[in-house]
Structures are given as structure tokens and as C-alpha cells.
């Protein structure tokens, strides 16, 4: 019973992290129709910048968090401007941007290697100490992630559904010309979506940096998980992404318990393929 509870809690932590990662990817995909392969690398940059400001600069974790998120936001806007914008309207835009965002990923990872080196680094935890939930012990930092993720996602949902600018993001994603004809500045909206997605990546990276060691490849494994979540949920709505993150996070936690660490990724991919065969638009997607 205690093992089950502990597994459930660790599944919740994974789900919260995956939901945060995937929401940024999903936001960019639904607005621009670009799959941002640099998303994981942006997470890594966020973590490194936070580490530099917090540990090397000695300014503490919160300024580090702000610096990390600010840096990735700016990087996101730059990536959009240099690597996506020149290809808008081209017939092969999706394929071209797969290549350009992959290039961005490689550039960011290699730059991080040069700047920060390959030695493992770690951020201090946001909150020290552990929390025990009827026997299952997790760190307060992980508990914070579990609490923070839904709040951020609710805020994101409120933004895209209730505010004029947030709605314009969705409008551009659904019909660019019709959006432009309402007076929405489409290129600006693209930059905004990319910046916001990158900000979410940076935030996730900083949170991740308190759990895992920070290396230049910090983001590559999470990126694959986030991609699975986004595809699994059905490209599109935030709700579907959150649902898929819960399913994948829980599945991963319980598979590690039963199948072991080695076979878990295999089983998850098998599940993904099965879902795509049975429901090509994803678990929660609409045809």
C-alpha cells in the first residue's frame, strides 16, 4: 500500500513536469504549426542561467529563476525571428522548421558545453526539507512542482481563453487570414507565442535543475517525453495535454515499479504507437 502511494506521488511529480514541458510545445504548435525541437535545449539554458546567477553570482534562487526565464524568452523570440519567420507561407514549412529548430537545439547544446562545460551542476531546491504524505516521502521541492504546475497551467488557460491577446493567439492558430482581417498582427502573435512557449521551457528547466543534474543534454530526454505527451494527447488543446501528461506520468511511475527502469521507455513507446493506431488524433484529440 505504501509502495503504491509512493509510486502514485512520484507519478504526480512526473505528470506535473511533463505537463509544464508539453504546454509550451503545444502552445507553439497550436499557434504557429511548428514543432519546436529546441524546446528541451531552452529548458537546459534556463537551468544553466539560473545556476550561474544563483550559485556563481550568489544572488539566490529567485533572481536566478527570473534570469533563466527571461533569457529563454528572449532566445525564443530570436529563434522565431531568425529560424522560423523566413519560412512562413512556404509549402514545406513544417519540414523546414523541423530542421531549423533541430539546428537551434544543437547550437544551444554545444554553446552550453563551451560556456558551462560538461561537469554536473545542480540548483538548490526551491524549498528545503521533505514532506511526508501518509508514509510516502517526497522533497518539498517536488511538492512545490506538483502545486505550481496546475496553477501555471490554469493561468495559461485563463490567458488564452479570457484575455483579448490570449484569444488572438488561438485565433491566429485556427485561421491566420481571418485573424489578420480582425486587426490582429499575425507576425507579432507568432513572436509572442514563441516567447511564451520558451518562457515555459525556461521555467520547467529551472524546476528540473533542482531535481536532476544540469548538463548540456538536460533537456533531450524530457523533450522526448514532452513530445510523447503532446502527440499522445492529440496536438492541440491544453486540457488534452494535461490529461496526457497525467496518463504518461502515472504510467511511467507504475511501469518503473513493475517492469523496471530498463523496459519502461519501451513500454511507453509501444503504448503511444497503440494509441496512434487506434486513435490517430491522439487519446483526447478530435478528428
Amino acid at each position: 500500500m505504501e509502495t503504491l502511494l509512493a509510486t502514485f506521488v512520484s507519478g504526480l511529480v512526473l505528470a506535473a513536469l511533463y505537463a509544464l514541458m508539453a504546454s509550451g510545445l503545444s502552445l507553439i504548435w497550436t499557434t504557429i504549426g511548428v514543432f519546436n525541437f529546441a524546446h528541451g535545449a531552452l529548458m537546459m539554458v534556463g537551468a544553466f542561467v539560473a545556476w550561474t546567477v544563483s550559485e556563481v553570482g550568489g544572488f539566490g534562487l529567485w533572481p536566478g529563476l527570473i534570469a533563466g526565464v527571461a533569457t529563454t524568452t528572449v532566445l525564443g523570440v530570436i529563434i522565431e525571428y531568425l529560424l522560423i519567420r523566413p519560412f512562413y507561407g512556404q509549402r514545406n514549412m513544417v519540414l523546414i522548421t523541423v530542421m531549423t529548430t533541430l539546428a537551434a537545439m544543437i547550437i544551444l547544446e554545444k554553446s552550453a558545453q563551451i560556456i558551462w562545460g560538461a561537469r554536473l551542476k545542480q540548483l538548490p531546491r526551491m524549498i528545503e526539507g521533505d514532506i511526508s504524505i501518509s508514509g510516502a516521502v517526497i522533497s518539498a521541492h517536488e511538492a512545490l512542482i506538483v502545486v505550481l504546475a496546475p496553477l501555471i497551467l490554469i493561468a495559461l488557460w485563463q490567458f488564452t481563453n479570457r484575455t483579448p491577446v490570449g484569444r488572438s493567439l488561438r485565433a491566429v492558430g485556427q485561421n491566420q487570414e481571418a485573424a489578420a482581417l480582425l486587426g490582429i498582427n499575425v507576425p507579432l502573435t507568432f513572436a509572442l507565442a514563441f516567447g511564451l512557449g520558451a518562457a515555459l521551457a525556461g521555467l520547467t528547466g529551472v524546476l528540473l535543475g533542482g531535481i536532476r543534474f544540469i548538463t548540456p543534454s538536460l533537456g533531450s530526454e524530457p523533450l522526448i517525453k514532452a513530445m510523447i505527451v503532446v502527440i499522445f494527447g492529440g496536438l492541440g488543446s491544453l486540457g488534452a495535454t494535461v490529461g496526457a501528461a497525467l496518463v504518461i506520468g502515472m504510467a511511467e511511475a507504475f511501469l518503473v515499479l513493475t517492469l523496471g527502469l530498463y523496459w519502461t521507455p519501451f513500454a511507453i513507446f509501444l503504448g503511444l504507437i497503440a494509441v496512434l493506431v487506434l486513435r490517430p488524433n491522439g487519446l483526447f484529440g478530435r478528428s
Binding site: 484569444r167 488572438s168 488561438r170 485556427q174 485561421n175 481571418a178 482581417l181 486587426g183
Partner: protein, 237 residues
Amino acid sequence: MSILRIEGIGGGYGSVTVLRDITLTLETGENLGLFGPNGHGKTTLLRMTSGLMRPSSGTIQFDGRDITGASPSKIVTSGLVHTQQGNTLFGDMGVAETLEMAAFTKRARAGATARLEKVYALFPRLAERRKQKTRTLSGGERQMLSIGSALMCAPRLLVLDEPTLGLSPRLKEELTEALIEISNSVPLMVVEQDVELLLAVTDRQVLVEHGEIVREITATNTPDHAEIVAMYFGAQA
């Protein structure tokens, strides 16, 4: 004073020329209709007017200001609002949400609540379907939402592309009445296949053929039915 002045507009898609040399003026207080066979440049002319396409020659002035090659969002901000043909709008958004969002520019946001009430009064069917997603609307309802959204932009000139395309005669009638009511407060420029509608809604009509304006109809030289049929099918009228 003319509200819209199009002078010598030409251009098309890549190497394909659609418009040759179109010159048009819309005087303040007048509604203009454009008709003619499909594929002869009417939609292209509207797309150039609203900034969706860039003309390769000529100039467009709206309200005395040059808007040639300006971005669609700038043009909407200045008050020229274009409703596209068969606009599918935003499938995953609700009716009320679409209308609220449509008042996007700063100028449109002022007085948006009052305008929303006007749109619902004009199209009561939209009021009944406030919560419904756009993808589930019928063609006629979608057309109403499209025109309603355009009204939410606080237009100073409303440009409509085939507003009754594919609608039943009864819906056409309903929409014609709505357009007449709109024209009381906003000048219209309408592209339409249904010449009856154009005659009911607009004061002056021009025939667009092969990317040129080949004929103008005013109250004093109204053609009869046979002549209009002849214009459509290419015979010399």
C-alpha cells in the same frame, strides 16, 4: 470626398496576372456593388484592398490616406474591414467569444458592448447560439457570424465578398435585409453573384471581367435581365 480611391491597380499570383488596370472610387455615402463571372479578379481586388495581397502596380487610398501595401492589421485599424468569401472563422471558438475577440483594435474596443448588442439584434440567431462552437454552425449562421465579427471591428467601410454564397433563398432574403440595415450606418462595397441583391443593397454596380472594369450600372442606365445574363455568359451586351 471619396472614402476609397483605387487607381490603376494591377497584379496577381506570381507570374499569373489577375488584375490589369482597375480604377474605382467610392464616394462617401454610397454603396458599391461588384459583379461578374467567377475567376475574373473580384476577390483578388478585395484581397489587395484589405492588404492580404500586394498589388504590383497602382495605389489604394482609404479616407485620403495611402494604404497600398500596408499590413491587414494596419488597414483594419484604420477602419476598412473585409469579410472573406466562405470564411470558416475560428472553428474551436464559440459565437460570443468570436464576437468579443473581433473587437480587437483599440478603436474597436471602445463601445464594443453596445456594438455586440446591435449585432445580436441584427442577427437574433447568433444570440441564440452564443455558446455554440463555430465549427457546428450552419453555412448561413457562419456567414452571419462573419459579418457580425466585421461589425465588431467598428468598420468605416465594410467590404463583403459573396455574402450569400450557397445560402437558401429564405436566408438570402434575411441577409439582404440585414445588409440594407447595415448600409444605413456603414458604407458597403459588395462582391456578389446575385445581381438582385446588389440592386437592392447598393447604389452603383460595376462589372468586372478579365481583371478590368468593363461596365458601370447606375440608376439611370439599369440593364434588363437579358442584358445581365449576357454579361455573365460573355456575349456582347
